[in-house]
Symmetry: C2
Subunit: 362 residues, 2 copies
């Protein structure tokens, strides 16, 4: 694997090497099937085993209760921004959204096409450098649900614990930190996530939805946008993204083998800790964008003393095989995305590089 | 490749071996990139070259005029059944649809949620065993467009030439025979196709749309369902199905290398000819479902003298490595799907098997 570099991109993102190797080995012909995973019918017995195995492993991994459906869809979180309100926000009704960054804003924009959106909390005035405190969140008990974004890829902030929803169904866009640590699914009414950060390559969206939410969908929705279509047909109403689900299955197995969500959670905490400790010990040379208590373990965003130094940092890192470190333009600076499959060794290499860089330029 | 069998499935379907081999070889690390295609950012230079190369090759292959946009979407033809009317059928307006099978029916059902659908022609009373004659089609000049399905996977029928639309914008679901023969794109206002038959593995949808159609989209559509979103952002509004587009690019290159649409069209005619000739020469033992003049070159459907013999046919064929031949329940019998990448040798093996089977059971 000497030709591989360290990929700090925000997503699509790095996958476990063991997963890539198995996918590569079997790409021409799945064992015992005689066809490539890229060619098999979604109605075949072989794929049945893959999608059911993926769901079963996911249920085991996250302890998903039996009154929740697991749906494998397409279109990413961006399509869920519309599907959520179209299905569970009654026309003319209202929903509460917490604003913690660009993705929450996009979710709000789509929900406003269906009903009234109330901003239950926001840290926009502080450039989303933190998650709102419990005391800053105002919930309307008549709202249809409370929506939040679990982790904010651009700003590098993450909820340590889901917000209290005061009895409202809790809906989460968990695209960028799903299955990165233990989760109590029973606290949620609906969780959705694009696959391309912690689950699989780009091309699938996972929706975990509590049965009672399914009853909310109004009649006359486009068939493909109605959660009931996919729940009834077990994600096989039409051709699903077969290969992406196959890789997701391999990733679920890998996560179980890594000690499940407890195991991966410990490692993610260790990886993020290495980076934040290095910054906190840098005498202010490296300054995290996120405030303590809101720091993401998936996307570590930080600034250097000048934009000039930031440019040099990215260029020199890239030359050393540390790729994808340029921050998003909304925050500037550096962003190191270190999802589940990102190896500890890569974080150590980055920390060493940071120390060297500071020595030369500090 | 001895472990591979002949895959007659209706889709997802067989891919060119050269494409599979290249995808396999580069799966751990794209040459010069150092990451897997499953991991690279959709905003990376490497992916830019892939998606732009895919579009350029497709434009060259099908001679797509410059006043057409090529969009790479998700959700399959099933989502297009809704997106087409949501974008180009004015609310309360009417559209003409020609009914030639199950997929046209599904398209009609979704369009009825937006406006009035007029059935411009149908062969349902003959169990969709043929394409309507020109004289059977009634077009309303006030309709927003005329929609048809170019090839009917279940019934095994195919339009030899697109219908006359009497000046209406022509919209085609070409999922199952796109790029199987030369096409005059300029006769269409919009062509859409799920990727999983002739273009790539499952997980992407191609939409080829004439610029003037883009102006029809009403304000307030869900962002992801508005063609303008994807046209403006060149299919990068959100994370596209990176791997599927990568394989599609390899397939486009392969098609160009096979002599383009002229070359592949000749070979498809040859393959289908072998099967239909064998049936026509079987003294009625093998009876094609499709009537002459409507016979599909992609999905060859036929019956045997009894259901018992059909079951035996499928079982013995499967045992000999001829997989996926069971017909759809709407027609019964046998279906041999022989898309672009299905090899001539596989058709010859099937023809030999058919002769042997008839000898033993005829």
């Amino acid at each position: 694997m000497t030709s591989r570099i360290f990929n700090f991109a925000a997503g699509p993102a790095v996958l476990p090497e063991a997963v890539l190797e198995e996918a590569q080995r079997d790409l021409l012909a799945l064992p015992g099937v005689g066809m490539s995973i890229l060619e098999i019918s979604h109605r075949s017995k072989a794929f049945d085993e893959i999608i059911q195995g993926c769901e079963a492993d996911m249920r085991r991994l996250a302890n998903i209760p039996s009154n929740y459906q697991v749906l494998f869809l397409q279109g990413g979180a961006s399509l869920q921004f519309s599907m959520v309100p179209m299905n569970i926000l009654p026309v003319g009704g209202k929903a509460d959204y917490i604003l913690t960054g660009s993705w929450s804003k996009k979710a709000v924009k789509e929900a406003q096409k269906v009903g009234t959106v109330q901003i239950a909390g926001s840290t926009e005035s502080e450039n989303f450098s933190r998650i709102p405190e419990a005391s800053e969140i105002r919930i309307d008990p008549d709202s249809a649900y409370l929506h939040f974004t679990t982790n904010n890829t651009i700003f590098g902030t993450e909820w340590e614990k889901e917000p209290e929803s005061a009895g409202l169904p809790l809906v989460a866009d968990a695209s960028s930190d799903i299955f990165s640590r233990p989760i109590d699914v029973s606290r949620y009414a609906l969780i959705y996530a694009g696959a391309q950060k912690n689950l699989a390559p780009a091309g699938a969206t996972v929706v975990i939805i509590r049965d009672d939410m399914l009853a909310r969908s109004p009649k006359g929705l486009p068939t493909m946008l109605d959660y009931n279509t996919h729940a009834k047909e077990r994600s096989l109403y039409n051709t699903p993204p077969v290969f992406t689900i196959y890789v997701m299955r391999l990733v679920m197995k890998w996560l179980l083998g890594e000690g499940g969500l407890e195991g991966i959670g410990r490692r993610n905490a260790e990886k993020a800790g290495l980076l934040y400790d290095a910054m906190d010990g840098s005498g202010g040379f490296f300054r995290p964008h996120a405030r303590p208590g809101s720091r993401s373990k998936m996307n570590v965003t930080f600034r250097l003393p000048s934009e000039d130094l930031e440019k040099r940092f990215v260029a020199e890192a890239t030359a050393q095989g540390l790729d994808g470190l340029k921050g998003h333009r909304s925050v500037g600076g550096i962003r190191a995305s270190i999802y589940n499959a990102f190896p500890v060794v890569g974080v150590n290499v980055l920390v060493s590089f940071m120390r060297e860089f500071q020595k030369k330029n500090g």
